[in-house]
Symmetry: D2
Subunit: 382 residues, 4 copies
């Protein structure tokens, strides 16, 4: 089958690899209809991780079940399904309590809980930027979707970024009526803003410096805050009569840059501490890493982020972090899509055949204007 | 009336000051029967805050209501009461949602929510290390206790440290059956350990290096971990078969010292991130401050604490911080004391008349052996 | 001042009564700009309660603060305010934990927690269908609104029915993505449906038999289920592929009627038990009473409602009940109105001067076509 | 193998039946070391259910894994395990959200969610009062225990009644510091009382009329209330200064009897509504059924229970019901046992070999004095 493989920094290739097959009795194989390039794929693409050459990339996957193992009883061949990016066993302590993003059994990496497809440090699993994908523990992991092709570009957000954005609002313990600050208007930030509004936010402020992304934020009812036009904290403070917001979402991660383009891993956390009111919550779904040899300073190389902790404490804020347990949210989000009340596909900017992956990675990585979210359709002629 | 006033670094004095009186119609005056010296009083005593000379200290107060203003209708003269250290208006947004520790109205200090008696930056309120104390918004703030003198040394912990220790377990979202790590076996850490066990913890590990404090921890059923005998993280990891604990409480604060006695504000947070399992919670009630001119490094002077944030994120942990809203817990804790199921007075080491305050501050500040918790009884002959 | 007083079954009158004044130091007097007739006013109007003749009615009130007592410090003369229907002391145990609808101090009626304006058994407080209203514990109870007259018909729903409908969804523990069944499309049911959608429901089914009310339900995005056209449970089961809804709200109360017009107090609870899925929640804000001499059977006269409890248990459902603690929700709902995301005024059908109350009660009680919600504006010329 | 089978009303027999075997790849077979007779087994024994003759009884099971199917990867042969009474698939919507007691896939009975071993209407599964038991979805369902035989009589309570009692306190939303009323001092009521105290209750009142059961309640720190000595509501009201308790647990079920021995299905609910304070919660784990041909009145035959709903509503109480999802609690309770902080085995009164089942059922059903809880040890010589 054809698949997108990592070749080294700034290099992917679409090549023939061995077919995905049922290995364990609890496996399924999914024929991929849509697989997205994720912002976090770019961490690998840019050579900033330890991902091995030859890895098939892709953790945002959906498609049609092609085959199942003998112990698969819930999911059936022919089902249209969304594949959560987390690979969960469904029976360890974390899985049983809804933390499938921290499965203790599926990732053999020392000291790591949580596995994923085609991702650095997340276990030996190939990704789904390919014609087929092997899915372990299929009954646990696969979410069934209505047959057909309707809502394809909405449903494809269920594998990762829509639940991830939602998780940001959950970690921030957003309540209805809240004012919310979302830092970052990339795909995850936009999904967080969409989530916040669906959950009953009063106002959602989305901070970025890219006009096209801010326009997308405004298109769903959020308020765009252009950090290139002035301190975003001040802008939001002004809009809230000096109170600040009730909570906030970090959707940028450790590679945050200031207006001058310099990398400051503590920048967004500092801004959130300032802008969120006393007792408020901060949900962090932008990625931070324990080791980052390419970081700007010694501390950051070891994952240390020297944000303004004293103010964080004095304001009595709280903070939740980490990868989203997709299964906790994806059924509900699917139903909101079906009911017409969620439309996460609004961020899709480009749809390409699988062979378009090379161009897709390149232009998405360069943040070319308008390249917000790229979908690959493996079954589609080039 | 007689009162303990701050005179400058390492100097308090017991002097005559004007009597506490009813000023506002919602005030009460409480005749103090017991008032404790708190570990956080030592921050002021050591000159590490901006507290003004002449301030009457003391925020851990209880006594008998001596007078009430005309708008006080719930509390009556003669009631025995505990006085929460937070001064709450009861009607602002934070108070109405149970966050009396972040009252937006009682502290006129710019940018600060939350007031307290006799404390730096917490408003112009005199403390209760005195014969009498003025209590604003008495109906909101005062907790009624059974008449008499029974449980005095337990009830006196209701004004601050028992609810503060409890808040640590709440911020960590401790659940029954959890293993809990508490860093710091000072009064607040011991109250956190007592709380954790009352709430149904399976095991509570208390980390400190003082044998007398560890002995107190063991006396209530906790497991003492002596950091002088080896890395406390390793000790707890060994005891939990490498899993770590389900959650943890920070009861040390920014003046954390390593085994060699050097100050490292990030030390305890680092240890908690290591020792708490994936998805677990960390409750921070040890104090961190936005400005600390006496800090060990440039970042820490501005409240920046460069702990291992990358691992915090990768483990999907969450963290809650800040001063405890005493009213949220003190009634229930009172009832547990009355029922004989909580005995927070176990930490009391010394009871002195008010005039003993000078000696009490001096020896408690020196952490003299066995000086765990000092109570002052203003009505008691010297 | 002019006020609407109860004269006996099916009789109200607009007469001169003594002016409302500041009695206690914590009181305010509010000049009423808008006061609504509530469905529960009709229980009194129809003579089905023990309300005394001469009582000034009206518990859905808003207006401008005209005077305040000397202990009122938060609210100021001239403020535009919403008056929650519950009268809360703010300092009893229930108030301090957010249950202002069950204040233990403001209602002197034996065995009753919770007070209200102008209402049977809810204490000696006159209502606000009048030119002025005395508001006890003004700093606790009053919600400040933006100055001016904007959103008047939306804000007037903040005193009772919008928070009451919202409380129904809260008691049912509705989560985003849920399908919700609301029984009753009267004002409270419509507010519950509006609330459910704001909180992120996937689909909201609203059951009634009045076409005008069902049309209102549909106008806000809900699905109208006409019980005159067939068993509503079957209709909803069909629409949910036999699964039923995730939760449900009871917005009818003990005077439920079947399609044939016969009163069956257990009817709506039975339908909710059937239509809500296993483990789902039921929020009951329709009123049930401990004594009802006019009830259809002996049990119901004593408040006994023989619904299908065996199935309720077997399905593992849960149920929450009772009057809404308005303060818990009204600030957030106000902010949603200001942000344009909530528009509860959509139910207003008639606006009358105070002297129009007699006609308003008469025609609203007869459920005349289109008389959904009646507002009285005391300051408005007849 | 030998097994206890149901022969008809008041008749069980220990006979040879075909060996339990691995049928599905996700199955395990457990060699039973301990299996308890449950109070709910007596419903079947007394002929008050539709259970078929020949059914192997027993849903409170533990033992050693004897064999596993090829898709079992977490649990291994030789593991000592507790078998939750619920049979869960682990992958349906209810299971994925922690409601394994309402699994939608394992019970083929029309309209029923949730399966169990050896139980009427709970699916075609044989029970564990036998030498061996087949366990479906073994990786999902089995809880691993420390090897050996320590704590056997405590661990055997993990399969049902300890989690069931705990669930009662959870459904009542008991918080630390609460006063709790538990109606029924049978095994489940005693487990609820034990749970409430472990979770930090201030006082737990346990209501029954059997002195030996009340003595057991007192032995764990609860307060026994003997209903034969006076109205239990009055007794508890007196002990709480007229306030009532904060919450309550129903551990009796539909076969409640008054002091005179007459069956009144609404009796216990009425008492709970009276004794629980406004806004309090009621957790119902005593069993109620939709059909009960042997019931005392027409309504009760159809599962209708005419309790005082009007007061329930007026007091703003809430109620949760249904079978416990054992997996949500059993790991934590196991850890509390290992830590020595839970000792549920205190209720064991008799231990018999499997062949003792006939006598055990007979004498337990007759509530012979001191027959509180009967364990069967299949491997033990008669």
């Amino acid at each position: 089958m054809r698949a997108v493989v990592y070749r080294g920094p700034f290099s992917v290739e679409v090549v023939d690899v061995p077919d995905a097959t049922v290995v364990e009795p609890t496996d399924a194989v999914v024929r991929i209809t849509t697989t997205n390039i994720c912002g976090s794929d770019l961490h690998m693409y840019e050579g900033r991780t330890s991902v091995e050459e030859g890895k098939v990339l892709g953790h945002e996957n959906m498609g049609i079940v092609e085959a199942v193992g003998p112990a698969v009883t819930r999911i059936q061949v022919g089902d249209r399904v969304s594949v959560p990016f987390n690979i969960a066993c469904g029976t360890c302590r974390n899985c049983l309590t809804g933390w499938t993003s921290f499965c203790t059994r599926t990732n053999p990496t020392e000291g790591m809980d949580g596995a994923a497809y085609g991702y650095a440090n997340m276990g030996p699993y190939d990704g789904g930027q390919a014609e087929y994908l092997r899915v372990p523990f299929a009954d646990v992991n696969l979410l069934d979707l209505p047959a057909g092709t309707e809502h394809e570009n909405d449903f494809t957000m269920l594998s990762d970024i829509f639940p991830t954005g939602w998780h940001g609002t959950e970690l921030a313990r957003q309540a209805p009526g809240d004012d919310v600050a979302v830092f970052g208007a990339g795909p995850v930030g936009l999904m967080a803003a969409h989530s916040a509004l669906i959950r009953g936010a009063a106002r959602v402020f989305v901070v970025d410096k890219e006009p096209d992304r801010l326009a997308l934020a405004r298109s769903i009812g959020a308020i765009g805050i252009n950090l290139a036009e002035g301190d975003p904290v001040e802008q939001i403070m002004d809009a809230t009569d000096g109170r600040g917001t009730d909570c906030g979402v970090e959707a940028v991660g450790y590679q945050a840059h200031d207006a001058a383009g310099e990398e400051h891993p503590e920048l967004v956390l500092d801004n959130l501490v300032k802008v969120v009111r006393t007792t408020g919550g901060i949900g962090v779904v932008g990625v931070y890493v324990p080791q980052d040899p390419g970081a700007a300073n010694e501390g950051a190389k070891e994952g240390r982020v020297a944000f303004d902790y004293g103010t964080f404490f004095t304001k009595g804020q709280h903070m939740g972090t980490g990868q989203a347990p997709v299964i906790r949210y994806n059924r509900q989000l699917r139903d909101l899509i079906i009911a017409g009340r969620a439309t996460p596909g609004f961020i899709v900017s480009h749809e390409l055949p699988l062979d378009g992956a090379v161009e897709g990675y390149d232009r998405f990585d360069k943040r070319e204007d308008g390249w917000t979210k790229v979908l690959l359709h493996p079954g589609q002629a080039a």
